[in-house]
Structure formats: C-alpha cells, structure tokens
Amino acid sequence: MNNVVDQVSYQVVYQVWVQVRVQVSNQVVDQVRDQVWDQVSEQVRNQVVGQVVDQVKATI
C-alpha cells in the first residue's frame, strides 16, 4: 500500500479507491463474505454454548 501511495497522487488513489475498491467491496465483501462469516460465527458460537451447557448439565 505504501508503494502505491508513494508513487500516486492523492486524487488518483481516491479515484481508484472509490470506483474500484469500494464497488467491489460493496458487491462481494459486504455481502457474501460478511454473511458467510456471520453464519459461521453464529454456528460456532451456538456449538460452543451447547458444549458449555452439556458440561454444566453433566456436572450438576
């Protein structure tokens, strides 16, 4: 990233950032990545909570 900033004006960085990076992120990252990530996090969280509950049940 530093190599880009050192060789490119702020205006051009901004232009490419907005017209390429932001649009690609909106279409792909903000949707597919975040939704898959959230789904996996939720399932992992539920699994961990389930294990804790099982252990508590087994202990009492």
Binding site: M1, N3, V4, Q7, V8, S9, Q11, V12, Q15, V16, W17, Q19, V20, R21, V22, Q23, V24, S25, Q27, V28, V29, Q31, V32, R33, Q35, V36, W37, D38, Q39, V40, S41, Q43, V44
Partner: protein, 287 residues
C-alpha cells in the same frame, strides 16, 4: 508520480471492477494445484518459508473445525485472519495499479492476488495454511443483493447454508416455513421486523392487525390508504393497491410528503410512490 489517469486508464476502472466482482463471486470447486502454487508464492515473495502444511476444507465452517483440531482448540477460523476472495476489494485496488499503471514494486502483492483468484476463504498460520472451497452457488436478486425466497442464497457443497432475504441474513425457518407473525413483529431488531413483514406480506400483516381504512379510491389500481398500529413501532400508513398483473400488495407510505403536506388520500399516497403530486397522477402512468 502518477498525478492523473489518462483516457485509457480511466476506461480500465470499470473493467478492473467487473473483473474482481466476478472473481469474488466465483462458485464451484477451487483449483487445488493452483492454490498450492499461490500459497507458496505468497510466502516466498515476502521472504517467508512456505508453510509445512496446506489444509483444504470443504467450507469456512469445516475450516473452523480443522483449525481447532490443528491448534488443540487454541484458534478458530472466526478468531483468526481470513484472506483470499473475501478480500477482493483490497486486492482489486492494488491490482489496478499493477496492471494498468507504471506503479512499481508491487511484486509482493502477486501471491495474494493469485490466492484471491484461486481460493475461497484462507487462514494463515506460521506452519499451516487453511483454504476453504468456494460456495457451490450464490443467488442474488435483480439489484445484485444476495437473496433467495425458497432456499439458501449461499450454499457450500458440504451443506453449510446461508439464508438471505434481499441482503438480510434471516433464520432458515423464515424461508422454509415462513415467519410467525407475532414472533416476527416482536423481533428485537426493527430491521428484522421489516424483513419478516416483507416475507409474510404486508397485506397479511394489515389483516392480522386490523388496519383501519383512511381513504378508499374507486379505482383499485389507485388503491386504499390504511392505518395500522404495529406493536412497538406505532402508527404506520400503507397503500393497498391492485397492480397491473392482478396482484394486490401493500406498500408502506409516509403520513406526509417531502414538502410536509399530509398524505391523507389513496391518490396522494399512490402519487407519492412515483414521486409526483396527486394532480399529476394519471392512471396511464402505470405500466
């Protein structure tokens, strides 16, 4: 110093954007041989020793399991750092300068670019790299939001599924069985209440909460203006209207227009949906 993009470089902005959106939304099996080459390149171009082990996983959920096993429970995917096609926004930005300009010293980026091109999610560790398959499919609506009204919008071959309604992740049961009206409208998240109401259909919600008629136009295509008291939300206005295809639907409308004038007739509400005034409304506008 690159101060300004020339005509040809300006034309490449959209091409680069479209290329990386296509890569980011790629589905189907990854090329494992190409992925191994990309991983080794990503490590060596920045002076690191390539990993001892590259573990292929059927989905990000499977990746979480495999990371947990390999680290004796110390790490999980959701707590480690992910890369590859989930970071294509950043990759597309660097790739633009590498491909379409004379900006130099971007070789270190090539390994990550190739990873993004060839893999799904990736998690890096000192000695191990975990690579997930891409989804089997990704479904979207007309506006490009992830969406499927009768099944998962994103599905991996090993069964990991994500249920999504016009860009909003929802419980599986909302898609497969439909949300329960009372439960849906008491959801703690107001945005999720709106989503549930859309899935159920506003006309059913209005019937359930015994909406009151404010104004009924003789023309069913202009419709009926209704007021309903939704729990925890308050009074909301809806235009119930017959569309050209013969289907009746209800649209939420404000109680006043952009100039603060009250919307108290079905005609005014219908005109508002087109961004025009009641006296400008002509039935032939509907197509």
């Amino acid at each position: 110093m690159l101060d300004k993009l020339n005509e040809e470089q300006l034309n490449k902005l959209d091409i680069c954007k479209d290329k990386w959106i296509e890569i980011g939304l790629k589905t189907g099996p990854i090329d494992q041989e190409a992925a191994v080459v990309a991983v080794n390149k990503a490590y060596t171009v920045v002076g690191l020793t390539p990993p001892e082990s590259i573990v292929f996983c059927s989905s990000p959920l499977d990746m979480d399991e495999k990371i947990k096993e390999a680290s004796n429970g110390k790490h999980t995917f959701v707590s480690s750092y992910g890369f590859a096609n989930c970071w294509v926004g950043w990759v597309s930005f660097i790739d633009y300068f590498k491909t379409y300009t004379d900006v130099k010293n971007l070789e270190a980026f090539e390994g990550l670019r190739d990873l993004a091109y060839n893999c799904g999610f990736v998690s890096f560790f000192d000695t191990h790299v975990f690579i997930s398959e891409r989804p089997e499919y990704i479904k979207m609506d007309d506006t490009g939001r992830t969406h499927c009204e009768n099944g998962p919008a994103i599905r991996y071959a090993d069964g990991l599924e994500v249920y999504i309604w016009h860009g909003n992740r929802v419980p599986k049961s909302w898609i497969t069985e439909g949300p329960d009206i009372d439960q849906a409208l008491h959801h703690e998240n107001i945005e999720m209440r709106r989503v549930a109401s859309e899935i159920i259909g506003w006309d059913k919600i209005l019937e359930h909460y015994q909406a009151k008629v404010i104004d009924e136009d003789a023309d069913p295509q202009i419709g009926t203006l209704l007021k309903v008291n939704i729990p925890d939300v308050g009074e909301e206005y809806f235009l119930k209207v017959l569309c050209g295809t013969g289907r009746t639907f209800a649209i939420p409308v404000p109680d006043q227009d952009d100039e603060g004038k009250p919307i108290d007739t079905a005609l005014a509400a219908n005109a508002w949906t087109y961004g025009i005034k009641p006296w400008e409304y002509k039935p032939e506008v509907r197509t």
